[in-house]
Amino acid sequence: MVVVKQVNDGGSESESPIGFRLDPASGVPTYLQLVQQVEQALRLGYLHPGDRLPRVREVVAALAINPNTVLKAYRELEGKGLTAGRPGQGTFIDGSVAPATLPELAGLRHALLAWLEEAEANGLDAVSIAALVTSTMRDFEERRRDRSSRAGGPTARSRRKAGGAA
């Protein structure tokens, strides 16, 4: 859940337009929740390039979480090409999550429905399908992360401007 605080008036001392919330029961690691919230905000249009993310200190004081966790989340966002840090000023939105365009969405939806019908025909019920999807997504995510770390390591992460995976 994203809480919109106030409209960015452009100064570096203004409040960030995004305020983080934690869901301790979701099972999602904290840093990932922060990353996902930024991505969601971008997708929904609450954040724009040039907006400043909350300072590490603010996040730590509000949520009572480890500063290294916040740093990890911000590093991940930078690695995905969504943000850029300006020394002494903070971390700013620098990219965008390209929303899948309407025809692409329709095509993907069609393919998904076909797949679901096949799964049902093979005897999977709703719960099994969900389990399969979740574990496969996890593997996919891991493989992508391994690929990106193997591709460059922490100092040479490539910037990807378009269509980062959710």
Partner: protein
């Protein structure tokens, strides 16, 4: 710099070893959670770190090589004990004066500002403050010394959830502001994921796990395997197993990060709370051999 370095550290009370063969190398800049069941040696370890106790065996150095309990160590380490240890009859102002006079370095202005923000009046007697306020007072006194290491012994055990949140928020904000490293002992496993980025797990006086949370999680998987398969056959360590019919769930420790799993095995990562519980449950059973320090 290693904020804590122990080699074969041990502490004995009479004939019982409260802590034994403890070898650790904890780098600075982390919030280190020391977890373990009661009697595992958590308080013993913390007492050794702050110099309230002397080792019966081995060595302990802090803050990059100073012996624990030495003047340099005392100067750079601030301790907040479980019972907050304030003088109940002294006023808050008296506690400020007292702490200022017992230390080389004390930021009175910072302390006053913080207490003001927290709504703690200077004329109140320390014993009359609420539990949460006492905890914040002890923490303020500790942080005003601008230590390089903050040691907390079950600091939130007697606090309500809101007070606990405020306390830990203050601790971690200090990590950002001052670059202070934190070592705390805790029972609150549910909080670990949010709060700790380095874990030391003690069981029966020995170190069972030590390393950054990131490394520890990367090195473990929860696998679901057919009953006849054996992770041990692959040379992997099984931390915990539970069998159900033709399947077993095993929490395994990978020999190295990114080791591939055999086909047909389903694996998922574990959370830090789950991992800790599994190790604690494991140790409720038989005695275990010591693992060498950090995972890396």
């Amino acid at each position: 710099m290693n904020v804590l370095e122990a080699v074969g550290l041990g502490r004995r009370y009479g004939t019982t070893w409260a802590l034994r063969e403890c070898t650790l190398s904890v780098p600075a800049g982390h919030l280190v959670a020391v977890v373990g069941p009661n009697g595992a040696g958590k308080s013993t370890l913390l007492n050794l770190v702050v110099g309230l106790s002397r080792p019966s065996a081995g060595h302990l150095t802090v803050l990059g090589g100073h012996p624990a309990g030495s003047l340099a160590a005392l100067d750079g380490i601030a301790f907040v004990a479980q019972d907050m240890s304030v003088y109940r009859h002294l006023t808050v102002t008296d506690m400020l004066h007292l702490t200022r006079n017992l230390n080389r370095r004390f930021d009175t202005a910072y302390a006053r500002t913080r207490l003001d923000e927290l709504g703690i009046h200077l004329t109140q007697k320390a014993g009359r403050l609420s539990g949460g306020q006492q905890a914040q007072l002890s923490l303020t006194l500790a942080l005003a010394r601008h230590p390089r290491l903050l040691v907390l012994d079950e600091p939130t055990a007697s606090l309500d959830p809101l007070a606990r949140h405020d306390f830990m928020g203050a601790v971690m904000t200090a990590m950002v502001d001052d670059g202070v490293s934190v070592v705390l002992s805790s029972h609150m496993l549910a909080e670990l994921e949010r709060v700790a980025d380095y874990l030391v797990l003690l069981a029966r006086g020995r170190v069972r796990l030590a390393g950054t949370v990131e490394d520890l999680l990367a090195a473990h998987r929860l696998v679901t395997v057919p009953a006849d398969a054996s992770s041990r056959a692959l040379g992997w360590e099984v931390v915990e197993r539970s069998a159900a019919g033709s399947m077993t769930h095993q929490l395994i420790r990978l020999p190295s990060v990114g080791s591939p799993l055999p086909p047909g095995w389903q694996a998922r990562p574990v959370g830090i709370e789950e991992l800790t519980l599994a190790y604690l449950r494991e140790n409720a059973a038989a005695p275990i051999p010591t693992l060498a320090g950090a995972i890396r």
